[in-house]
C-alpha cells in the first residue's frame, strides 16, 4: 500500500510539521481519528542543531545560531518508515510528525492531507499574511522635496 510522491511534496509537509504548534497539531491529529500501531525505531529525543545560512543564499556558510530540535523515527506495521523533526522540545509533536510522515507515504495520504496538512498550511499562510499586512500598515514612504535652490 504505497504511493509515489516527490521530494518537494515531502519537503512541504516536513516543513509544515516542523514549525506546527503542539496544541494545534495534537488537535488536528485527534480530529483525523486513526492512530495506527507503530514501532519506535528512535524514541523521541531532544537535542541541539546548529542552524547555518548563506548570505543571499549563495555566499559562504555561516553559523546563524543553535536551536532545539526534537526528532523521532518509527515504522508502521507494513514497514513504512516515518521521520519527525520538530522545533522545540515537544516529544508529542515529534511523534505525531513522524506518524504523519509515515502515513503520507501510504494510501492514507489524501485523507490525512485534508484533515491535518491543509488546515495547517492555511493557518500558516494566514499568519504570514496578517504579519505582512501589519508591517505594511507601518510602511513609510519617503519623498525628496524640491529644495528650490535655483
Amino acid at each position: 500500500m504505497t504511493t509515489t510522491f516527490s521530494a518537494m511534496d515531502r519537503r512541504g509537509w516536513m516543513s509544515l510539521l516542523a514549525s506546527a504548534d503542539e496544541a494545534r497539531l495534537t488537535e488536528l491529529w485527534q480530529g483525523y481519528g486513526a492512530d495506527p500501531a507503530c514501532e519506535l525505531l528512535r524514541a523521541p529525543e531532544a537535542g541541539g542543531v546548529m542552524v547555518r545560512g548563506r548570505m543571499g543564499g549563495t555566499g559562504a556558510p555561516f553559523n546563524l545560531g543553535e536551536m532545539t530540535v526534537t526528532r523521532c523515527a518509527l515504522s508502521l506495521q507494513d514497514g513504512t518508515v516515518g521521520h519527525g523533526y520538530v522545533q522545540g522540545r515537544s516529544k508529542v509533536s515529534a511523534e505525531i510528525a513522524a506518524k504523519i510522515d509515515a502515513l503520507m507515504q501510504t494510501g492514507a495520504a489524501d485523507a490525512l492531507s485534508a484533515a491535518v496538512l491543509t488546515p495547517l498550511a492555511e493557518e500558516k499562510q494566514k499568519a504570514e499574511d496578517d504579519r505582512a499586512a501589519k508591517a505594511a500598515a507601518t510602511k513609510v514612504e519617503f519623498f525628496t522635496m524640491v529644495r528650490g535652490e535655483d
Binding site: T2, F5, R42, A73, S75, T80, V81
Partner: protein, 194 residues
Amino acid sequence: MSLDTRNAVYAGGFSNPPVAAAHAFRAAMNAMARPGRVQDITGAAPPEGISIAAGSLLLTLCDPETGVYLAPDVDSGDLRGWLAFHTGAPVVPAEQADFALGRWDALTPLNRFLIGTPEYPDRSATLIVETPGFGAPNAVLRGPGIKNTARMQLPELTAFQNNAALYPLGVDFFFTVGSQVAALPRSTQVTAEA
C-alpha cells in the same frame, strides 16, 4: 520518488539508548580492563553479517566525530545506512579510522591504522575483530589487569607482539563472537602457549 524504506537500516538500535549504552559501555570497559576475559554485551540488532557484540560496540562507541573503517568483508549498504542512522559516524579509509570493523584477514596489515603520537597516544585506532569463536587458547597474556597470566585464542601472535612493542603507541583490539566480547589492549604482552 518511489518508496524504498528498508527496515534493516532503521531497526535494531538500542531500545532504551541511555540504559543499554551504559550497560554495553560497562561490558566494553571491563573487557579492556581484564584482557582476555570474555564479557557479555547485547542490545543491538545490527544488519546481517555482523555480530550483536560488534553492533553494540559500534552503537556505544561511535558518534559523528569518530571515523569508522569497514573492512571489505563486512562493508554493505545496509551496514553503512544503519551506522549512519543510529550513530551518525562517517565511514573513512583505514588510515584515518578511530574504529575499524572486520574479520582478522580483512583488517591486516595493521600498519595502516593510526597508532597515536607520543604527545597524544590516544589518537589511535580501536579494532573490532569479528572472530569465529573463542576456541582453545594459543596465547599467554601478561600485563596490567591480569593477576598472573591469562590465556586466549588469537588469530596470530606476531602482529600482537609487534603492536605491544610500540607501547605507549599502538592499536587496541576487541574480539567479538555472537553476543560476547573480549579485548586485548596494547599494554598486554603476548607469548605463545607453552
